[in-house]
């Protein structure tokens, strides 16, 4: 049988379409030659990578590798740390995130963040969600917005009858989903998560992971995690960072070792250091 005939076979037509080509996806953040230092000491050096739309991108690596430092560059959280200096390029949808005309408050509206420890305001569940929209004067149909957001964060069914109760009365896992909902309430474009499940029990963790899978349809997500299996479970792309000790004895800094599709990182990493880390042979 010749090749053209084979193409006509129904079997050939049943072949699955090629899935998600990474390069074809819109770039949300383009990072080039990024360096971050605190008080003159480099914490992270020479990072170049693209974060792509509707992908979950995980940053993994040992303590001190700069993964949290990098994620904080994406919503200019490092601006709030005295002595922090960011150099190199961070473009957000093609615009310099650190350009003089960029308003950091507007940046943080578009790029929401969820932290390791749930940090709800000591207010009602409703007010936690309504806080951001009120600040931004998005008060039209506020009740609907609160409900929509809580549904989005897979929390509505658990809290709909006690919206006026204090958010601090929720469980840890519920508080974390409330914080995710709070980030969603102002209609961001990107959600940054800095170890969002490391303080939670396994059931709450899997709820958060399910939520991440749901949310990536509409949002771009960047997650820092110490849990490699979690990166394997939720992320499309994974960046591995490591700590480099400077030869001149001036200290150590984080560096990007490898950035690729998660399946590649966990089945056939290119760099020996990644291999050693993901297989647990570091140290």
């Amino acid at each position: 049988m010749t090749a053209p005939e084979l193409d006509n076979l129904r079997l050939a037509q049943l072949a699955p379409a090629e899935t998600g080509d990474v390069r074809g996806r819109e770039v949300v953040f383009a990072v080039e030659g990024l360096e971050v230092s605190y008080g003159g000491a480099a914490a992270l050096r020479d990072v170049t990578l693209d974060i792509r739309r509707n992908y979950v991108t995980a940053f993994i690596g040992p303590s001190g590798c700069g993964k949290s430092t990098l994620i904080r560059c994406f919503n200019r959280m490092n601006d709030l740390i005295p002595g922090a200096v960011v150099s190199g390029k961070v473009d957000y949808h093609g615009r310099d995130l650190y350009g003089p005309s960029v308003d950091p408050v507007e940046v943080r509206r578009r790029i929401g963040m969820v932290f390791q420890k749930p940090n709800p305001f000591p207010k009602s569940i409703y007010d936690n969600i309504a806080f951001g929209p009120r600040v931004l004067k998005l008060t039209k149909d506020l009740d609907e917005r609160v409900e929509r957001t809580l549904r989005h964060a897979a929390l509505w069914d658990e809290v709909k009858d006690r919206l006026s109760e204090n958010a601090l009365g929720l469980s840890g896992g519920q508080q974390q989903r409330l914080c995710i909902a709070r980030a969603l309430a102002v209609e961001p474009d990107v959600i940054l998560m800095d170890e969002p499940a490391s303080a939670l029990d396994p059931i709450s963790t899997s709820r958060i992971e399910d939520l991440i899978h749901e949310l990536k349809r509409e949002y771009t997500i960047v997650i820092v995690t110490h849990n490699m299996q979690q990166a394997g479970r939720v992320a499309d792309m994974t960046a591995f960072f490591s700590v480099e000790v400077r030869e001149d004895g001036t200290g150590r800094h984080g560096t990007l070792v490898e950035y690729d599709q998660t399946t590649k990182i966990f089945t056939n990493p290119s760099d020996r250091r990644t291999e050693d880390y993901v297989t647990g042979r570091f140290g």
Binding site: G232, F266, T267, N268, T274, E275, V278, T279
Partner: protein
Amino acid sequence: MARVEYQASLEALEADLQEQGGVVLRAVAGAINALETQDVELCDEVIAFDDEIDDRYHRIERSIGELLAQQAPVATDLRLVLAVLHSSIHLERIGDQSVTVAKLTKLSAALEQHTELVEGLCEMGTRAAEMVRRALDSFAARDVDGARELVDLDELIDRTNRAVVDKVLAMSASPGMQEWGMRMIVVARCIERIGDNAVDIGEQTEYLITGEFHEFSDASH
């Protein structure tokens, strides 16, 4: 070196595969030897020995289940575990082919035989056993070139297999040889499959080393 226990489990797993390989090679040699000498007792031994091969396969499968559940291997470790699992299944199949050769030898013992054809089949069997040895050695030495060379060795066996079929067809004019000839076609096919399984193990070796899986030869050829 961190994860000492884990590392030891991986090494034990690979040692189990090589041991299974050694046992399977004994089965292949036994089957070919029985064919050559028409030794019915040896045929029975080969048939009974298959339980040992199956047990070893199940032991490897169980160890892999435990490793996956408890250690969540990734990267090279994951590839090793998958390659061992597949190779162990291929070895188990080689054991099954040896059993079929032994059963057919037993069934054909009382029939009129064609000595030259038996010699040809035994030579084929020896080559197949060499391929299994080569596949196991390449796996252990992480020798991707050695694994890829299995395809050339397999081609020799395939050629002999085709020659056996031609010979049996030529013999079919002689009525007394028909039953024996038909059985020997199946024996040739079993030995040919042993060669294919050795190539399959070679493919696992390449996957283990490179992270890319591809079939060494196209099934349609």
